[in-house]
Amino acid sequence: MVEKKVSLLQWMATYDQRWVYLILFLVVLGPMVSPIGMPISVSASTRNWYEKVTALKKGDIVLDSWSTEYSGYMELKPGLLATHRMLINKGVKLFVCLGHPEGFAVANVVFEEELKSYMDKHNYKYGVDYIILGYVFPNVASTIAAVTNFQDAVKTDWKGVSIKGTFLDRIKTGADITMIVDFTTGAGNPGLIDHIVLRFGTPMIQNPIGVSLPGALANLDAKLLQAVLASARGGAELEYLIREPGPGLIMMDAFSLGHYMVIIFIIIGNIGYFGWTKRERARERTTIR
């Protein structure tokens, strides 16, 4: 049997999609083994985030909300680490509230491994400068309870140790929070905006994953958010702004190449569609059977 020769246009329309995955693997792994150092630009949105965090003063109390599981953390990691470096450097008081059960693992990694040496360098101590309250904001009900009467609703930290006598004594309601910094995979807690920002006028900034970015930008436009840091890309830009290279800048080579690769495959797919698939359908329609 003679095999029919596949034209270039037909190949463009019908190639095995598994090639895309394989090439994506290579494109991502390659720059990690051998970094290229492609340039990045800093967007106005990241600059705005930088200014909002910079405006905080030593001793200000920030609600540090992490509505992320471990997989989402991989995308939020650059922004989360860079922002926390800024907050630690400024001596801002943080109380970390988790919105996902896996957040415990993330908090452990961040404070016990990633930021440990940075915190030691700045003498930033647990119980004095930051407290992890744990999984206290799983839903709207808990948020309302906490910001209406904080001292009655939250009495211990994530390990069951009393928070009495700490900086959290200063928090009575949501009005006592200087700012909310939210890292979210989108399955976050609507109570933060609905019941703290709206009710007490507390400023809030948000670092969402890419999928949730359009929604966050709409809230930024409606002034419900004061700044938005866009996905891992925003985190990389922030690392550049604060002159603290980290995971974001390392991943940007793979990130940029991955985007170039998809653009090329979209072009190939479209040429294949108009050059072969569409004509093939027209031929099928006009064939006399």
Partner: protein, 238 residues
């Protein structure tokens, strides 16, 4: 690093690549193993943390110990919710669900009307031209205004679409296609960030690199061999 942590990391890298075999497009035992392991671990972890962090030690039990009787109805409602998994008495869980839904609706309506509607609408009704913000602000605001009007005209179904309405609806339709493209790009950026982030976790510190590349090759070879022998789908979980 102790031996246990070291072995855990190497196993995690291998199992991650087993998970990626779903991209091969055919069921296989490596993926089944990774999938079920993940589901079991994630479920166990969620239940454990939810129990110790919210219900168990932290709030309800500690609250009861302190003599706060307010926790009694909360505990009863929580227990009723668990009947969801027991078909014979699953109707009892409706009490808790109804309670939760009622409260969520009340809270939602009270605030969502502002955050999801009024604030969003008022954010679009603004001066198109503000001299100090410049031409880019004008272009952005005009684009938003035109997009909203034309897209809303696309969704008017109670009249025949013709004349200027047809033009407006058609423009709105194409603006929506553009918006879908933008959302797709954001989605891809997000997914790529997740993938690159995970790969970075498997590639750094540098000692992980041989294991990562080795695991990728090993899984790929096993998968091809299983597929060639016709065992991939046969050994996969149903």
């Amino acid at each position: 690093m102790d031996l246990l942590t070291y072995l855990s990391v190497v196993l995690a890298i291998f199992i991650a690549f087993c998970g990626f075999t779903t991209l091969y497009g055919k069921g296989n035992p490596l993926y089944s193993w990774a999938e079920f392991s993940y589901l079991a671990t994630a479920t166990a972890m969620s239940v454990m943390w939810s129990w110790t962090a919210t219900f168990g030690v932290r709030y309800a039990i500690q609250g009861l110990i302190r003599g706060e009787l307010i926790w009694v109805p909360a505990i009863i409602l929580g227990i009723l919710m668990w009947f969801r998994v027991y078909p014979k008495y699953s109707y009892l869980s409706r009490v808790s669900i109804a309670f939760t839904m009622g409260i969520a609706l009340g809270w939602g309506l009270r605030t969502s009307i502002f955050t999801s509607f009024i604030r969003q609408i008022s954010a679009t009704i603004v001066n198109l031209w503000v001299p100090e913000y410049g031409i880019m602000y004008f272009i952005a605001r005009t684009t938003i205004a035109v997009s909203i009007i034309t897209m809303m005209s696309f969704f008017i179904y109670t009249t025949e679409i013709k004349g200027p309405h047809l033009w407006s609806a058609t423009i709105g339709e194409y603006i929506m296609y553009t918006a879908f493209g933008a959302v797709f790009a954001q989605t891809f950026m997000g997914r790529l960030s997740l993938f690159v982030g995970h790969m970075q976790d498997y590639m750094f510190p540098v000692w992980k690199q041989p294991y990562t590349i080795g695991a990728a090759l090993l899984v790929f070879v096993i998968l091809l061999a299983l597929d060639k022998k016709g065992l991939a789908q046969k050994l996969a979980a149903a």
